[in-house]
């Protein structure tokens, strides 16, 4: 090949600005997902069909369609259907947040179902009411067990957030695309952008691995 690399042609400033937007999206979506995912998980396990069904449908819909379809759908259809016009950043956060909520609800559900039956029986024996049982027994147990999966889902959303570039939110991916066309240096730009994404998600993935190993040692 006779391509000469020129990494100096790529200015880092817009990429860093994009990274800040990406991180804002990720953090906000994670807040929605971590907080609202739990009540959604409880709805998923409800004994009442009318509650369980819509919740299951919601979760399965987000899990079984491509994230890009969800995001494009959200940006085009929500303003038309509901007549609400929000900023693109808010829309991005909502779309990613709802997606993460569905995935986290599944994680919580698995963790809740893994809470040993005896613990709940003990709660009943101690005369705790259902709410107390959830708050003092199920929640702490399930939260601790679901941390690795929640973190993994968090990284996945960090990566999926690159999709909002397609609907013109100025995140890292969007800035990289713009820069690549402006400078005619796609290799350098996309390589640097990929490395930035990697530099954020790799350490988090290592933490997840460490947590899982520690948990295995503790439970065995």
């Amino acid at each position: 090949m006779n391509y000469t690399f020129d990494f100096n042609a790529v200015s880092l400033r817009p990429l860093i600005e994009g990274l800040v937007v990406t991180l804002e999206l990720t953090v906000a979506a994670n807040l929605i997902g971590v907080v609202l995912g739990f009540p959604l998980a409880l709805l998923l396990m409800s004994r009442i069909v009318v509650i369980r069904w819509p919740a299951t449908l919601f979760v399965e819909f987000f899990r079984c369609t491509p994230a890009i379809v969800q995001i494009v759908w959200f940006f085009y259809c929500v303003p038309m259907l509901f007549n609400v016009f929000l900023g693109s950043m808010t829309m991005g956060i909502l779309a990613l947040g709802l997606n993460l909520m569905a995935f986290n609800a599944e994680a919580y559900r698995a963790a809740i179902q893994a809470v040993p039956r005896e613990q709940i029986d003990a709660g009943i024996a101690l005369g705790l009411n259902p709410l107390q049982r959830v708050v003092y027994i199920v929640l702490p147990n399930a939260l601790r067990a679901s941390v690795p999966v929640l973190l993994t889902n968090g990284i996945v959303i960090f990566q999926q957030s690159a999709l909002v570039a397609i609907v013109a939110v100025q995140d890292l991916m969007y800035q990289a695309k713009t820069l690549a066309t402006e400078t005619y240096r796609p290799i350098e730009t996309f390589t640097i952008a990929a490395l930035i994404y990697f530099a954020v998600s790799f350490p988090v993935a290592q933490v997840v691995g460490w947590l899982e190993r520690r948990r295995q040692v503790l439970t065995s």
Binding site: E60, P66, A67, I187
Partner: protein, 221 residues
């Protein structure tokens, strides 16, 4: 606003063609990707540190970056580096195969690990040669255990394949977006596109649960 789903009937053929592209792409990359994943999974347990290192860097890099940027990289940069023109399909296949290879290698690695140490000891006690150990003892157990996760990897790949629309490949998503732009009826078109994806991915995820139950039962015996 009034919804009019009959618009879609006019574009039935285009949607079917798009869906076919999506399915074709997914199937090609499932076969190529999981073969690559199996080799990489083996490489990550190799005795040589260099082989292990290369395999780890590959897997971590592809799992640590967005698929969209991988796709852009392969689409725009690989032709520059190799000095050859790549067709849309070829770039899509390369990108998604590499992605699938990375995620399935983790699946295979975990399932290889789950084959108990005592199985290896039994092989040695029976005096089986190395290739028989691998093909008749380790491989069948590892593959069997990998099946549920592999299936869900396939569902992930099917969903990620929608990204190729961003680089102009005429898959279901791309066709859907085109129709929605031309008819100015995004609600109907995009909803139907989402439902088509759902109609394929949902039964597959159910199958994962079913297979999981059955295999777990079989292994427990």
């Amino acid at each position: 606003m009034s919804l009019d789903f009959s618009v879609l009937l006019l574009f039935q053929d285009a949607l079917v063609l798009g869906l076919w592209t999506t399915i074709k792409l997914t199937l090609i990359c499932v076969v190529l990707g999981s073969s690559l994943g199996f080799l990489v999974g083996l490489a990550r347990t190799a005795p040589s540190a260099v082989v292990r290192g290369i395999a780890s860097v590959y897997v971590e890099f592809f799992r640590g970056t967005p698929v969209l940027i991988q796709l852009f990289w392969i689409f725009f940069c690989l032709p520059l580096i190799l000095g050859v023109e790549l067709s849309n399909l070829a770039s899509g296949v390369i990108a998604l195969t590499l992605y699938m290879g990375a995620i399935t290698s983790e699946t295979f690695r975990a399932s290889l690990k789950s084959v108990g140490r005592e199985q290896m000891d039994a092989c040695i006690a029976l005096g089986l040669p190395r290739h028989v150990q691998v093909t008749s003892v380790i491989l069948p157990q590892a593959v069997l255990r990998a099946v549920p996760t592999l299936l869900s990897n396939c569902v992930s790949l099917f969903k990620e394949s929608a990204l190729v629309s961003a680089v102009g490949m005429a898959d279901l998503m791309f066709v859907g977006q085109n129709i929605s732009n031309n008819t100015a009826r995004p609600v109907e078109v995009l909803t139907v596109v989402a439902l088509i994806y759902f109609a394929i991915a949902f039964p597959l995820t159910r199958a994962v649960t079913l297979v999981e139950g059955r295999i777990l039962k079989k292994l427990a015996i």
